[in-house]
């Protein structure tokens, strides 16, 4: 048994999964080619809904990439052995999701061929430009962090690297939240609550992704996770889900209190068609209540239950981001308060958005890139958590 390398008998399965992931990534590339050739006219995005499905996927991946490092931070910064054993896997997932998310974001640009301009012409006042530094810095820091964990001679540097990653990811998710928080002109955004909201959301989404990846890793290695560890991580997911629900509630409650935003809230929560449906059924019920029920249901916690709860949290994340990003743009800008407005450019009207298949292909392509990096990392290196027989903390 001990002679078996990780993923020993799974070589064939690995190549099948690699091919499947590769095919989806190729489909994403095809979507990019089509969008480049024909322009964004072949997507569902338009001059009113300027950010669409690709941004939902990209922001999920980037936020979860930061949140998954929570597992590493609890280990490296707060010294919990159970989490420290899982820090390498968290680092791998973070790099994989960051790569996938940034690829989607980059390839959705109108002129992705000019991406180098973002480095040669840097606008110091742009939060997008800050994020370019934050993302590349995160990438490098997590690589160094992994190095300090996986190379014995570098072990003494593990703690400082862990602290650096801990600080950096907070700043990074703040930066992601600020992309929207700085949009003062739009009713849906322009709130100082957004950066902390994104940070707490990242905890839940990142841990959910981690638990799914961990379940897969244990299954592929034919090992069983210690029920005590499962119980702890499950409870942590519950706390994070409650925390993120609190932040989302606070965001909507503050909006509801401002009279000039009540129309927008009514649209998102009550009569906006697909958006209230996705919010209540998708995000609230499937993404919060059901996972919480699975997590806190009295009795023995089963791995399948935790896996299901994690998958639901991820599904809810997509629903929330769709409502937040697309619903936020669909509601008309209030350029002339107190007036009924109409024009040929959608003033005063709810904007329509019908995402095209190509946008989904691009988004799934990003997920596939994250998937390929994760399974290849797991295949080549030993990311299996090595738990000590007794939990010290």
């Amino acid at each position: 048994m001990s002679a078996r390398p990780p993923m020993y008998f799974k070589n064939r399965l690995y190549y099948v999964l690699l091919a499947a992931g590769g095919l989806i990534a190729l489909a994403g590339l095809y979507a990019v080619y089509m969008m480049e050739h024909h322009g964004h006219i072949i997507t569902g995005m338009n001059n009113q809904i300027v950010w669409g499905i690709p941004h939902v996927f990209a922001i999920f991946l980037i936020v979860a990439a930061s949140g998954v490092l929570n597992v590493a931070s609890i280990g490296s910064v707060f010294g919990k052995a159970v989490y420290k054993a899982r820090a390498p896997l968290a680092g791998l997932l973070s790099i994989a999701m960051l790569a996938g998310g940034l690829t989607v974001l980059m390839l959705d640009l109108g002129r992705p061929d000019r991406i180098i301009v973002a480095a040669t012409n840097y606008n110091i006042t742009s939060v997008f430009a800050w994020n370019i530094v934050l993302y590349s810095g995160m990438f490098s820091l997590v690589l160094v962090y992994l190095w300090t964990m996986m190379e014995r001679r570098m072990n003494p540097w593990n703690k400082p690297a862990g602290f650096a990653v801990f600080a950096w990811r907070f700043v990074l998710t703040t930066g992601t939240g600020l992309i929207f928080a700085f949009l003062t002109a739009r009713q849906a955004y322009g709130s100082a609550l957004l950066p902390p909201m994104f940070i707490v959301l990242s905890f839940a989404w990142g841990l959910a992704v981690f638990l799914v990846a961990q379940a897969a890793l244990y299954a592929w290695n034919e090992k069983e996770l210690d029920p005590a560890i499962l119980q702890r991580t499950k409870n942590l997911l519950g706390v994070f889900v409650i925390g993120s629900l609190y932040m989302v509630t606070a965001y909507h409650m503050t909006n509801l209190y401002f009279a000039h935003l009540s129309g927008f809230e009514r649209f998102i929560l009550l009569d906006g068609g697909i958006y209230p449906n996705l919010f209540w059924w998708g995000y609230f019920l499937l993404g919060n209540l059901l996972p919480l029920a699975l997590i806190y249901w009295p009795g023995q916690c089963k791995p399948a239950c935790v896996l299901m709860a994690s998958l639901l949290v991820m599904l809810g994340a997509f629903m929330l981001l769709y409502v937040f990003i697309i619903g936020g743009q669909a509601y008309p800008l209030d350029i002339f308060p107190g007036h009924e407005v109409s024009s040929s450019f959608g003033d005063g009207q709810i904007a329509t958005y019908h995402p095209s298949l190509l946008e989904f292909l691009l988004g799934f392509g990003g997920l596939a890139i994250a998937f390929i990096i994760t399974i290849t990392g797991m295949h080549v290196f030993n990311f299996m958590p090595h738990d000590k027989p007794h939990i010290a903390d």
């Binding site: 973002a118 012409n121 939060v127 350029i335 007036h339």
Partner: protein, 238 residues
């Protein structure tokens, strides 16, 4: 010895001639394009005062002139560019109706310029907010940030462009205040086309300009003045 010198002279003459032939069309084109050697002056602030009481509902001469001048198709689909649009507004409480043109407001503190990651969105010294089509990467963050929905994204390949107004697929664009006309000493196309002279164009910094005098004498407002952007476009009768 003399043979070699002659060869060299011939070679030099031919080279100079070829260089002149190569450069001349460029110089000619530069002249044709009315390129101005001197930069825009920071002493000037171009702006407009739009008299909404003179703007007629149903009239879209300004929009048509803009489309003609800038080579826009004039189509109004969700993915078509509209640099200027007619907005019909009705006061919910009083029922008062107005019609007015809406375009880039050429803010002193433009949010689009703040958020642009590559400095493609920029404000010229004379107050005109523009997009450098060679730097724009098409991220559309400026469209998210603009409080006036003044910007459009080029969703498909373009044909038959106006050489004075370069545009590009995959980049963002908006009203340039007809910068190419201003640099020739002309007015923006919309101001010239308005049958009721509802659009008054001029230098807001020049106290003796017609626009400055009128802004001093009549009540005018900036749209979404609460955002503190100090727009270059003002509205009268709003």
């Amino acid at each position: 010895m003399s043979d070699i010198d002659l060869h060299r002279r011939t070679f030099l003459k031919t080279s100079l001639g070829a260089a002149a032939v190569a450069i001349a069309p460029g110089m000619l084109l530069f002249d044709t394009a009315h390129g101005k050697p001197q930069p825009a002056s920071g002493k000037v602030r171009w702006g407009m005062l739009i008299d909404t009481t003179q703007c007629k509902s149903g009239c879209d001469d300004c929009v048509a002139a803009c489309n003609r001048e800038n080579g826009l198709s004039g189509a109004t689909g969700a993915t078509d560019s509209q640099w200027i649009r007619k907005v019909e507004i009705k006061d919910v409480s009083s029922g008062r109706e107005l019609s007015l043109p809406m375009m880039c407001q050429h803010c002193e503190h433009p949010p689009c310029v703040d958020v642009c990651p590559t400095t493609a969105s920029f404000r010229r010294a004379d107050g005109i907010v523009l997009v450098d089509k060679h730097r724009c990467i098409g991220c559309r963050y400026c469209m998210m940030a603009c409080p006036y929905k003044a910007r459009s994204f080029v969703h498909e390949p373009l044909h038959d462009q106006n050489p004075d107004v370069p545009r590009g697929k995959g980049t963002v664009e908006a009203c340039t205040l007809c910068v190419h006309r201003i640099d020739q000493g002309l007015q923006p196309a919309c101001a010239e086309a308005c049958p009721n002279q509802a659009i008054l164009f001029g230098d807001l910094n020049d106290t003796d300009s017609e626009i400055s005098k009128k802004i001093r004498s009549v009540a005018s407002v900036q749209v979404r003045a609460n955002l503190g952007l100090n727009t270059g476009i003002r509205y009268q009768g709003l």
